[in-house]
Symmetry: C2
Subunit: 198 residues, 2 copies
DNA sequence: TTATTAATTGATCGTCCGATCAAATTTTAA
DNA sequence: TTAAAATTTGATCGGACGATCAATTAATAA
């Protein structure tokens, strides 16, 4: 039946995507080829072209997969909290935790974001997402609502603070801080953010 | 004479590097080739190989050039200030200003950092620099000294705050904030940072 | 001026890539 | 069981790449 077929196809597509993530992590976007992804997945090169319309399509689907995985993880933890302060802390901690727990995913995400481009050749990292980026929207919502309900102070710009927080989270991945552990960084970051919003 | 020769060579090398920066900005690292750089510089492909040992060598030299340009700009502005608070604000504002004034340089820097790799295949963005990164060292010094001299408060970790600031600066490039101008962002960011360190 | 060295060209080589497709295999439906 | 459809293989194609190098031109020094 269709269900079974689409199930097989879906499983194969996920297998290919996971192989792509591994290869991206190991050798980076520049050196990643369909042949190497096929070898990693123990399938033939042609099979990738059968399930994806080309390299670009595979990379786009891998990006979507990675963004969704991250979103599911972060959103789950945030949703468990009730106050905006708790949600804000959960957001930061969940992001940092995800990076540690899913290093390959985080690296693959970076490799794609900084190399893949839209059909009009604009790199994803210079794209103005806003509406499409669920994670960024969630963070902005937390900051806005926390301010509206007077749980946070009024002396900060939610848009700007949102960027600061996202930057601080991203930067952690890029600069391996030996001096302090991840827990320590998480603690210090939330402390600093609370100083800004409270 | 040697001086004249090395002067010509140096001029040619800089011409090639500047062409590389333009091409990197326009089409990204993945699509950048020596042939395209040569065409941009109106020279033959072989000439690039004459002045650089290969593509990798050219990219490494371009990276060094870009880092130095940024460093000269930022350090100059910071050095003009006397107090650590002034230096900290100058550091942030100079970084943001450089990105706006030298967009091509900033984009080319990103393209290289996220794609070029060391001889042992470690991507630069996962490298633990610390000592070599003058800009990062300067920021840490400002935070440390400001704390030592009690110009800043003691309730923050300089290493962590350094990462937060660098992340916030980098993130500005990546998320074009339409809502607020660069000046506004600069103002809000320094305000937030001062809340953390004061 | 002339011999030597430096700088530059552009054609060419081998390699790897993404994409294609006829053939083989497996799965599904009748 | 059998015909049809879906899945998978692996060889092959044209193209772009980085690198090389003999040949040419320009600059320098004697």
């Amino acid at each position: 039946m269709e269900d079974k077929q689409s199930f097989i196809t879906e499983a194969r597509r996920e297998q290919i995507i996971k192989a792509a993530i591994e290869v991206l992590k190991e050798i980076g976007y520049v050196n990643t080829s369909l042949a190497k992804i096929a070898r990693k997945a123990n399938i033939s090169t042609g099979l990738i072209s059968y399930h994806f319309s080309g390299k670009e399509d595979l990379m786009n689907n891998t990006l979507i997969y990675l963004i969704e995985q991250e979103w599911l993880f972060v959103n789950k933890r945030v949703a468990q909290q009730s106050t905006w302060t708790e949600k804000l802390i959960a957001f930061i901690e969940a992001n940092l935790a995800y990076q540690v727990l899913n290093l390959a995913n985080s690296i693959a995400l970076i490799e794609i974001v900084f190399n893949a481009r839209t059909s009009d050749q604009i790199p994803y990292y210079l794209l103005e997402d806003d509406e499409e980026d669920l994670k960024a929207s969630l963070l902005k919502e937390i900051l806005f609502k926390g301010q509206e309900t007077n749980e946070f102070g009024g002396d900060f710009n939610p848009e700007v603070v949102s960027t600061i927080i996202q930057g601080a989270i991203s930067e952690t991945m890029l600069s391996p801080q030996n001096k302090h552990s991840h827990e320590e960084y998480s603690l210090e970051l939330t402390k600093g953010v609370l100083k800004i919003v409270k």
